[in-house]
């Protein structure tokens, strides 16, 4: 017993920390510094301030990831704006008229940020920055959305994404580059992705062919909205020898894997010019009775404008629309009934 205690006290003495005089931040081991940095909040800027004190502190701060629920990065011809949300609260908004300076800040945020949802709406100035396009750094986001983005910048950004992307929403016009997009591993493996307002008629068969070639997982979904006819027909033509069943609204084809089929569905919404399609990898055992006949739900998922206008059309009395009726600041339809108030109940 006594020897046990002697051993332990000896061990404690050996383990004792080295003498330290005038203890300060620089004397802290990195793991403690990181623990302290974790307690700092980005919104209070000082975490960013610490980053600016010296090289060593910068690399330390940069090694610490921050979770953002949402991140919106957008540019126009004059400035760069970041809106970052932590637990759905806006925590940082930065406007920068100097695009190069803005780029540096953005690079830092993208490096440390782990985004639940990242919305990118850049126009030319930043997207054309050669450094941005060639930078080795990768983004970490579970869901990414491109809005009003010059389509030729979608591919470089997707290439900069780390693995683990769960949805890709391309809400900007793509024209020629679908084959390059389909070659990206994120796109090949993502459970859900869509393209809005696609200008060609080749998307359905190209995506289905990619899924066949890569033996994509059951549950993979692709949706597209196109203007004009031709997509449905091209799909039929391309997979003529694979068709298992077809109707006006659906086509089911076999893949090279006997366990899984691909189901193509067609949907429209009254008064809308776009045609909507959904492609899904389904189990070969799925019965026709299990098909989902409510196309509105999946169309609304990809096109919020359609959802919004559809809701508007369903407001009683909308047909009697008056020029004096307006939309409020939140985009809700309001009827001016001369009672001094705007309300949607009238």
């Amino acid at each position: 017993m006594a020897s046990d205690l002697e051993n332990i006290t000896g061990k404690a003495a050996k383990l004792s920390i080295e003498p330290i005089y005038d203890t300060n931040w620089s004397d802290m081991p990195d793991d403690i510094k990181l623990e302290c940095i974790e307690q700092m909040e980005l919104k209070e800027i000082f975490r960013m301030s610490l980053r600016c004190t010296a090289k060593a502190e910068r690399s330390l701060v940069d090694s610490q990831k921050i979770k953002f629920t949402d991140g919106i990065l957008c540019t126009n011809d004059e400035c760069l704006v970041f809106i970052l949300y932590h637990n759905k609260k806006s925590i940082v908004t930065k406007h920068s008229k100097d695009v190069t300076d803005g780029y540096e800040s953005m690079k830092h945020i993208m490096k440390i940020g782990v985004f639940e949802k990242l919305i990118i709406a850049f126009t030319n100035p930043l997207a054309n920055n050669v450094q941005f396009m060639t930078d080795e750094g990768l983004f970490t986001a579970r869901n990414i959305e491109f809005n009003a983005w010059h389509s030729d910048k979608v591919i470089p950004v997707l290439r900069k994404m780390k693995n683990g992307v769960e949805s890709i929403k391309i809400n900007s016009t793509l024209s020629e580059e679908l084959d390059q997009i389909l070659a990206l591993s994120h796109v090949q493996n993502v459970p859900y992705w869509h393209i809005q307002h696609y200008e060609q008629t080749d998307s359905l068969y190209m995506v289905a062919q990619m899924w066949i070639d890569t033996n994509s997982k059951i549950g993979s979904v692709f949706q597209v909205s196109v203007f004009g006819d031709g997509s449905f027909e091209e799909f039929l033509k391309h997979f003529d020898d694979r068709i298992l069943s077809k109707s006006e609204k659906r086509v089911r084809i076999r893949t090279n894997n006997s366990d899984r089929h691909i189901l193509m569905e067609f949907g429209t919404i009254q008064d809308f010019i776009y045609q909507y399609f959904r492609l899904m990898v389904i189990s070969a055992e799925m019965e026709e009775s299990e098909y989902d006949d409510n196309c509105k739900e999946w169309i609304f998922k990809m096109d919020q404008d359609v959802r919004y206008v559809n809701e508007l059309l369903n407001i009683e009395g909308y047909d009697e629309y008056d020029d004096s009726d307006e939309f409020d600041e939140l985009g809700n339809y309001r009827r001016n009934d001369n009672d001094g108030y705007w309300d949607s109940d009238d």
Partner: protein
Amino acid sequence: MSSTEQGTSSAAPAEPTTAPESAAAPEVPESFYYVHGKDKVVHKVSAGALQHSALIHGMISNLGYTEEQAKANPFPFENIDGDILQMVVDWCNQHKGKPTPPEDTNLPKQKEKLFDLVLAVNYLEIKELLTYCCKQVAMMVKGKSPEEIREIWMIPTDAEDEAAEKEAKKRAGKEAAGETAAAAGDAK
């Protein structure tokens, strides 16, 4: 070794508390250990309070002992200042068997003391207290500019770092040259 016993736990081993009338099993008396810091002042701490320290808990777990043996062999933490160890012991005693609150406002505000406490707590592996301390460290520079942070925490600038490195290399070079010359002299 000075054997001044301090702290709230310096009383004799726990007196049996009033047992509930219906209690079937007799309560096991609480065991105590002894620790001292640089100042050799010995603190008597209960095993329950020491559970906060993963390091000490790991050392004493499953160890049978007598009061005399424990008293005769206090754990020496020679490089922890006495006042810092006292703070740690007090904190462990205060939070013995209690859930830790979300904030602890009783931590030292003085910079050097706080950093010393952080190092000691980190070494003793007291996770909750370390979290409080790190929060307190973070609060020290809340809202401060990089220059202010550098001043408060005495962080050298990159230029100062480089200059110090150059100076150290220069000194090492001189020392090496001196040693070579001395060795050559000895050889002659």
